[in-house]
Amino acid sequence: MADPLIQVENLYKLFGNNPDKHMSLVHEGKSKDEILAATGHTLGLKNINLSINPGEIFVIMGLSGSGKSTLIRHFNRLIDPTEGVIKVEGTDVMQLNPKELEQFRRHKMSMVFQRFGLLPHKTVVENVAYGLRIQGVDKSESLSRARQWLETVGLAGYEEQYPAQLSGGQQQRVGLARALCTDAEILLMDEAFSALDPLIRSEMQDQLVQLQEKLHKTIIFITHDLDEALRLGDRIAILKDGEIVQQGEPEEILLHPATDYVEAFVHDVNRARALTVETVMKDPAYRITADTIADALSQMKGFGRDYGYLVNESGYQGVVKAERLEQAYQDNKDAKLDAALYEDVEPVDPHAVLETVIPNTLDADYPLPVVDEDGQLTGQLTRGTLAEVLGETHKPVEQQKDESRTPAA
């Protein structure tokens, strides 16, 4: 794997007048509330370790006050850490002098703010062009680039309005356009979509995903909303009281919540939309690799089922059923297996979202074969699996995953 773009090591932040004096309490493991009561200092972040890879969307989640905004502000040093190291492309940002820091902020990162942070005395288009103007790009050039981005976020026609004349959601999109306009490599988005209504919100999410496919930026995205996190995130970190309680890929967090806190988070999520077939399918146990009907029938008897997935060297061929094979066997005991005997079953794509395969799975009399883009049989999806994964409890999911691993071994 490539070197991480952003690396955070042992980051601590204690807010207050004399944080250094009270850091010993933090290291003793006192809780946020205890420290606040004893010293009047607020523990913002505690022992954060992260590495963010180039080109990924890294989502930071947590309840209000858990330190999300504090953490994201450390990346461009709007907040200085009390302890710890932040490296961007291998450079320790704490070592930058003021001039270098300005350059770093101008060209490396741009930010979308939770409370917009638009300049009220400038028009919308001037706001979007602000980053470029600060860099010293000339006026007409930056305004014309700003116009394009405004169009992209769906605000064409509002160029000459002032921020106060726009709705909250529109202002948020201005903030997004402003961040995209500088073409910085890293995008910091602090609840960038939280002020949008559900419809525009999901539109903006799609747009972000599309943009990301084109631009390959590294995006650090803060949200309250797990559905949004699962939709956008390549990886997710969950914060609680300034500490990371779990980080990992979305499926991992969904299927194996590390603590009750995380579990409470994932509880309400629409799993049918969040999970792909790949993450819940069982290993394919019932392969049939025979040339003749007789062999096929005996293999089927071997694993005690009345169906099987026929595979050969070029991959998955189809589903065969005992009943049909037996009929054919009665007619001709030496007959070869041929395409006429396969069931007509549409295989499932491992990357498909569960929601899209529910109808087919429920219709079929046997588990659906999961076939990857190379035509290889990679798994099977049963009604039972679906019922368990989409059901409320987590325990059965874990057990069933463990069981499904055993036969493959």
Binding site: Q103, G117, P120, Y130, I134, Q135
Partner: protein
């Protein structure tokens, strides 16, 4: 001295000791002004010539042109016909009652003083806003400037520079500058932290933040300070006339000593008219510059 005396009588310095202290301080200051007075006067020469030039310009211009220009400026700043009409009426009346020349002198003094107060006051306010230490240092000085009776600091100014226009201007500036300084400081400190943070996040340098964000957003507050400064300068004009500043204050002073009630009233009214015009025009202008700043707290 009896033991119980200090309970009934205020403990006091000896008269002779007090006199000595006064004498030493006064002589020291007198020596200082004798030695450096001329140099300091020379320092203010450009200001004096500007003031004199401006006064002459106002007086040399035909009265109707002055009225037209002032009314035009009032309209540009406020976009209000009523205000411009008020300017025309009150200036005509001022001229009709024989106060034209004094009014022009007063206007030129006010203008110069206000300009100087802005040129000095805004940067001081900026410095104060940047550092809490500077704020704690400068605030008491401003308190003294605003509460010390104006007559008291006329004395050292007169000792230093004698009687005349420049000491008058300096006294007016000292008296009138605190609001600009205070409100520049306040305005910059009140700038929305989120907006400033956004500018910082995009790599704005301290200068870019000041010019592009802090000053424009503090402008309504700074304008309120300038407005107050103009008002205070106007009210100081009468007192400053005691040390030889020409203008509407002179006849007022004369009326007090000779008990001319009507003369005093007329000149007083003329000062009021000027005050109202300056106030309304500067406020209307301030309001117009800040019309986009409202309503940012939604969302």
């Amino acid at each position: 001295m009896a033991e119980s005396n200090w309970l009934t009588e205020v403990p006091q310095l000896d008269r002779s000791e007090l006199r000595d202290i006064r004498k030493t301080l006064d002589t020291a200051y007198r020596d200082f002004s004798r030695e450096h007075g001329e140099m300091i006067e020379a320092f203010f020469d450009p200001l004096l010539s500007f003031l004199v030039w401006f006064e002459k310009l106002l007086l040399a211009t035909p009265w109707w042109l002055v009225i037209a220009i002032v009314a035009g400026l009032a309209y540009l700043a406020s976009r209000s016909w009523k205000l411009s009409l008020g300017v025309v009426v009150s200036f005509t009346l001022i001229g009709y009652f024989g106060m034209w020349e004094d009014a022009m002198s007063t206007m030129s003094i006010i203008l110069v003083c206000t300009l100087m107060a802005i040129i000095l006051g805004v940067p001081i306010g900026i410095v104060m806003a940047r550092s809490d230490r500077m704020q704690t240092l400068i605030t008491p000085v401003l308190d003294v400037m605003q509460t010390m009776p104006a007559f008291v600091y006329l004395i050292p100014v007169v000792m230093l520079l004698g009687i005349g226009k420049i000491p008058g201007v300096i006294a007016v500036i000292i008296y009138a500058i605190p609001p600009v300084i205070r409100l520049t400081n306040l305005g910059i400190r009140l700038v929305d932290k989120d907006v400033l943070e956004a500018a910082t996040a995009y790599g704005a340098s301290p200068m870019q933040r000041l010019v592009g964000v802090q000053l424009p957003l503090a402008m309504p507050t700074i304008m309120a300070g300038i407005n107050q400064t103009i008002m205070m300068a106007l009210s100081m004009v009468v007192i400053a006339s005691m040390i030889g500043v020409s203008g509407l204050g002179q006849p007022v002073l004369k009326s007090i000593t000779n008990q001319y009630f009507t003369l005093g009233l007329l000149n007083g009214l003329a000062i009021v008219a000027l005050a109202i015009i300056f106030d309304r025009v500067s406020q209307a202008y301030a309001k117009r510059t800040q019309r986009h700043l409202g309503g940012m707290d939604n969302g």
